[in-house]
Amino acid sequence: MPVKAIAKTSIARNGIGAFVLPCHKISVQYCNWGGSSSGLRQLLKSGKMDSIASQKSGVVFDVVKRVGHPKLIFHYNNSQKQEVDIANLEASQIVEKLNEYSQRSGAPLFKFNHKVLSNNDSVRGIWSPMHAPKSHRHKI
């Protein structure tokens, strides 16, 4: 056997070819009695939530009535769940939260201090001092 293969799975590149929204389900939890849910209740009553749900047709909206502060639970396709507390928020602020979190990938946020984050090697390659002509090389 001249050459053996090392098994590797291919790397997903969402957005090259097809784009599939990573957020697939949003649970909207409200309380029918508490004051902190009034913004969400208004959103649900006015039919605004219905229109948002019909706009985001790829996302399942699950409206749950439960005692306590209201929250939004975003389910992402990397098996992550993100709970967002929306107690005492107005309807417009809740819509902002919905838009913001439904566009996320579900991966935790991290500080990135470099210019490029890529799966691919640099197109120009890495500069090498060994390939300069001999007369131009650094001499010690």
Binding site: P2, A5, K8, I11, G58, V60
Partner: protein, 362 residues
């Protein structure tokens, strides 16, 4: 070395000899197949009762409708077919399962993946080609794709559904492969009991494929198969290239050379290069420097085949030879106008690439 020869008595020998170790096609008895005569395949008919989910029921399943929309499937792709693609259970509720769609999708996928690899990388050695096919459409990869499509598994039993007042339509949009009996078993946290098939796969090829992984892969294949049945081949081809061929294939990490220098020499022989292969030192930082670095090149006459950097002469040499081999094996042809070459399934296809000449033997 002590060796004992045991003579078997004659009748015992006779019982040992006739072993059948090849695959024999057998009818699946659970399908209750009837036929007029064994060789008349047209008369084969399955008597297992299955029915398709009515479209009106499928429309009331939010996960199913959302999946349809998330994958941007055309409206002619019916929701009932999508639901069927997610069903692996043969007996539970009498609904048609995805066995046929899975086979169809697998065939289509393997055709387009093989076509892509053979045209794009015509010189890939056979083991790497096989690994690349697995890398694009293997069970693990398809499981990952299924997960990224947001397909969920239906894991709650009938009783649990009843107690939580869950809508019965929800399950039609979920992946159904856990049998009702298994669902109702008491599960212990952190303990996973293998099913019979999983144990069998463990013995057969020493690579464990969980039932869930296989189920996700089967659902993805079936969705592709369903696309073909509803919309036809062009849309299926576009779907496969969007979701499967668009993934990054780490081919340069998939080679494991045992004797790279010898292989390069054999390869150059096979390509009938007249000059001998030589490894030459191109540059170095100096042998007595604190961290010496060498740049070696694999040359054939004046042609540089590959170049490698290493912290010892041997490392630089091996890297240069491996780079030379990789740049040969990973060659990808382009057409005369500089664009990607066309595939045989494209319209007005004209062969422009090359055909690989096969692997070298060491």
């Amino acid at each position: 070395m002590l060796r004992r020869i045991v003579r078997l008595p004659r009748p015992m020998l006779r019982t040992l000899v006739p072993t059948r170790n090849y695959q024999v096609a057998r009818l699946d008895t659970s399908l209750k197949t009837n036929y007029d005569s064994l060789t008349d395949y047209g008369s084969y008919k399955n008597n297992i009762f299955t029915h398709r989910l009515p479209e009106s029921t499928a429309q009331q399943s939010p996960p199913l409708v959302a999946l349809h929309s998330r994958l941007n499937l055309p409206t002619s792709y019916s929701l009932s077919t999508l639901s069927q693609a997610l069903n692996l259970n043969k007996f539970d509720d009498g609904l048609a399962n995805n066995f046929g769609l899975n086979t169809l999708g697998k065939n289509l996928m393997s055709y387009y993946v093989a076509e892509y690899l053979l045209i794009k990388y015509p010189r890939l050695p056979m083991p790497i080609h096989n690994a690349a096919v697995d890398s694009l459409m293997g069970v693990e990869t398809l499981h990952e794709i299924g997960k990224s499509w947001g397909i969920e598994v239906d894991q709650s039993s009938k009783l649990e559904k009843y107690l939580s007042q869950e809508s019965e339509f929800l399950k039609y949009g979920k992946l159904r492969f856990v049998s009702e009996q298994r669902k109702s078993q008491v599960k212990e946290d952190g303990v996973y009991e293998l099913s019979q098939e999983e144990i069998a796969s463990l013995h057969r090829n020493k690579s464990f494929v969980a039932k869930e992984t296989e189920a996700y892969a089967s659902a993805v294949r079936s969705i592709v198969g369903g696309l073909y049945t509803h919309v036809g081949e062009d849309a299926t081809k576009a779907f496969i290239s969007d979701h499967i061929l668009s993934r990054k294939l780490p081919l340069e990490q998939m080679f494991q050379f045992s004797q790279p220098t010898r292989e390069l020499i054999r390869l150059c022989d096979k390509l009938s290069f007249t000059e001998p292969v030589e490894i030459r030192l191109i540059a170095e930082t100096g042998r007595l420097s604190a961290h010496p670095i060498y740049v070696a090149g694999a040359f054939c006459g004046v042609e540089k085949l590959g170049e490698g950097i290493g912290s010892s002469l041997a490392e630089a040499k091996t890297r240069s030879v491996v780079n030379a081999l990789l740049s040969y094996y990973l060659y990808s042809p382009i057409s005369a106008d500089g664009a990607d070459v066309k595939f045989p399934s494209d319209i007005d296809y004209k062969f422009e690439g090359i055909v690989g000449t096969g692997d070298v033997a060491i």
